[in-house]
């Protein structure tokens, strides 16, 4: 059935949304007035995005909002955790962990020179290893303190696992003092340090995300 202008106008919103019936198409073909209407509405639609420029609010606005948030207690002081601390501190602790793992890895895979006295790799690097291990233990204790605020069940599991790895490291180290050439124990020690590093990272993430 043929559509008249009033009927097309009633349908025009749908037409502009892409719902185009055969009757409406037929009317447009025959009616210059309604064609002009559609052309103008399309022109307006096409021109509109040119108005979309975002505008910088005044620079003074954020300080005002921030001050209001602080006065209402919505912005709160954040706990100073080492992994959220200043970049130099995070870098230092990250480097300590990486150094520890590297020392162990180099020691594990380094063959002693045949003519050298039977000084083990562990004895060679003992002082350095002890220093870095102290740093890692300090980071671990800080992480454990921060974990006190976390879910008790999660905290207990992580702390238990850390203690088990420390025991493994201690046993392996003692065994290697007696027999520095024990390849299997070396690999266990290396693996334990790796796991400790991973676990500390996980603990940090858990506390950071609050999970």
């Amino acid at each position: 059935m043929a559509m008249n202008c009033a009927e097309f106008e009633a349908h025009c919103a749908d037409w502009m949304e892409g719902e185009r019936t055969a009757e409406a198409r037929a009317h447009l073909l025959a009616c210059a007035r309604c064609r002009a209407l559609v052309a103008d509405l399309e022109a307006i639609r096409m021109a509109a995005p040119a108005l979309a420029e975002d505008v910088d609010p005044p620079a003074s606005l954020w300080p005002k909002i921030e001050a209001a948030l602080r006065s209402e207690g919505i912005i709160r002081p954040q706990p100073r955790l080492w992994w959220l601390g200043p970049v130099p501190v995070r870098l230092a602790l990250g480097t300590a962990l990486a150094t520890l793992v590297t020392i162990v890895a180099v020691g594990v895979y380094r063959r002693p020179a045949p003519a050298a006295p039977r000084l083990s790799w562990l004895q060679h690097d003992q002082a350095e290893l002890a220093r870095v291990d102290r740093q890692v233990r300090h980071a671990a204790s800080e992480t454990a303190v921060a974990l006190n605020a976390a879910d008790p069940a999660v905290r207990d599991t992580l702390v238990r696992n850390l203690a088990a790895l420390d025991r493994q490291i201690e046993v392996c180290s003692r065994t290697l003092e007696d027999d520095p050439d024990d390849e299997i124990t070396r690999s266990y020690l290396f693996e334990a340090y790796h796991q400790k590093s991973d676990l500390l990272t996980l603990m940090a993430e858990r506390v950071t995300t609050g999970e």
């Binding site: 103008d40 509405l41 021109a47 995005p49 910088d56 606005l61 954020w62 909002i65």
Partner: protein
């Protein structure tokens, strides 16, 4: 907008910033502000046409957002949620300014006659020749009723879909489509009127020198 120097906010994604803001982290709030303030301010400015008032409205929208950020669970897009707050703040302000004209119901439920699109008997439609000048369009948009202006800005200017606008403005999708169509038809009428005025002025200017004569008398 310009990055804020001396903060760590530039590294945060929106999701991270939301999570940290929910814990009260100042840098996270600032990051969310950086991500969205230009768009919100632009919308407020187009709606009220006054930079000072737009700043005030933007501040109010962000304060409302941050006060409620603990309740955000991600069911809708964060920007949609923010725009809903901003739209409400703007429309409430306009309603307070002109209570008789701009009640919220009227802003989104005006009937066809109120759209201003009426074909007058004996008046020839003046086509826009397929193109619309940006400056003229800006002037026409500023004359739209607030409800139409808001839907037009959200859909045709900022690119929101009708389902998002329905969410933002608290109306149906059909209502959003209907409001948009009325906004466009009203704009067409305003542009045509402006074009007629310009044509009339040009005719008058063309006649004036002839009427005055070469000696001005």
């Amino acid at each position: 907008m310009a990055r804020v120097k001396g903060t760590q906010t530039g590294e945060l994604t929106e999701a991270e910033a939301i999570r940290r803001a929910q814990r009260g982290d100042a840098a996270a709030f600032e990051r969310l502000y950086q991500l969205h303030s230009r768009r919100v301010y632009a919308l407020c400015l187009r709606m009220v046409g006054n930079p000072t008032e737009a700043e005030d409205l933007t501040q109010e929208a962000f304060l409302q957002l941050f006060r409620k950020i603990q309740t955000f669970r991600g069911e809708s897009a964060f920007s949609t949620w923010l725009h809903r707050l901003a739209v409400n703040v703007v429309l409430m302000r306009l309603r307070r300014k002109q209570p008789a004209e701009n009640s919220l119901d009227e802003l989104v439920e005006q009937d066809d006659d109120a759209s201003g699109y009426r074909r007058e008997v004996g008046v020839e439609d003046l086509g826009l020749a397929g193109s619309v000048d940006r400056v003229h369009l800006e002037r026409a948009v500023a004359q739209l009723p607030p409800g139409y202006r808001m839907v037009f800005l959200l859909h045709d200017v900022q690119g929101y879909e009708h389902n998002e606008i329905a969410d933002i403005m608290g109306c149906s999708i059909g209502n959003s489509k209907s409001q948009l169509h009325k906004a466009r038809t009203r704009l067409r009428q305003l542009l045509q009127e402006a074009e007629r005025d310009r044509a009339r002025q040009q005719r008058q200017q063309a006649r004036r020198p002839a009427a005055l004569g070469p000696d001005g008398g």
